[in-house]
Symmetry: C2
Subunit: 82 residues, 2 copies
C-alpha cells in the first residue's frame, strides 16, 4: 500500500499493492499510469474519499471491474458537465 | 480543455473537454474521477508526458479505448514491479 511520491515519478510509484477489496463507494478517483522506461508495470492508484492514496493490484479482477464500471458510467455522462 | 484546479475538487474539474484524438504514446496517465455530489459527470483527465493536463471527453470512443488498452496491459504486469 506504500506509495513512493517522487517529483515527476521517475520510477515506479507503488512499492506494494493493496489486494483486499475496496468498495467503489469509498473511491473518489483512480489513476492509471502507463508503463514506460521509468516503471515496467502499469500502476493503478486510487484516491479514497478520505484522501488516502492506495496502490491497487492492476491484475486483481475487482480492480479491473471497478475501473470498467467507472468507464461505463462515463459513457452515460450528460452533455453539460454542470 | 481548461481545467479548474480546486483544493479537493468540490466541483467539476473540467469546464470543457478535448475531443480530438491524442496518441496514447504522449499520455503518461489517465485519472478517472467518479461522479458524485460535487459533479454529476465522471471526469477523465489525462496527464501528458510534457506534464500538461487535458480533460478528455469520457463518451468519446477513442478515450474509452485508450483507458481499456492501459487496463488490459495492466493485466500483463509481471509480479515484481521493479
Amino acid at each position: 500500500r506504500s506509495l513512493v511520491r517522487m517529483g515527476n515519478e521517475l520510477r515506479c510509484q507503488c512499492i506494494s499493492t493493496h489486494s483486499k477489496f475496496i468498495h467503489p463507494k469509498s473511491i473518489q478517483d483512480v489513476k492509471l499510469t502507463q508503463s514506460g522506461p521509468h516503471c515496467k508495470n502499469v500502476e493503478i492508484i486510487a484516491t479514497l474519499k478520505d484522501n488516502r492514496e492506495v496502490c491497487l493490484d492492476p491484475t486483481a479482477p475487482w480492480v479491473q471491474l471497478i475501473v470498467k464500471a467507472i468507464l461505463a458510467k462515463a459513457q452515460l455522462n450528460s452533455d453539460s458537465p454542470l
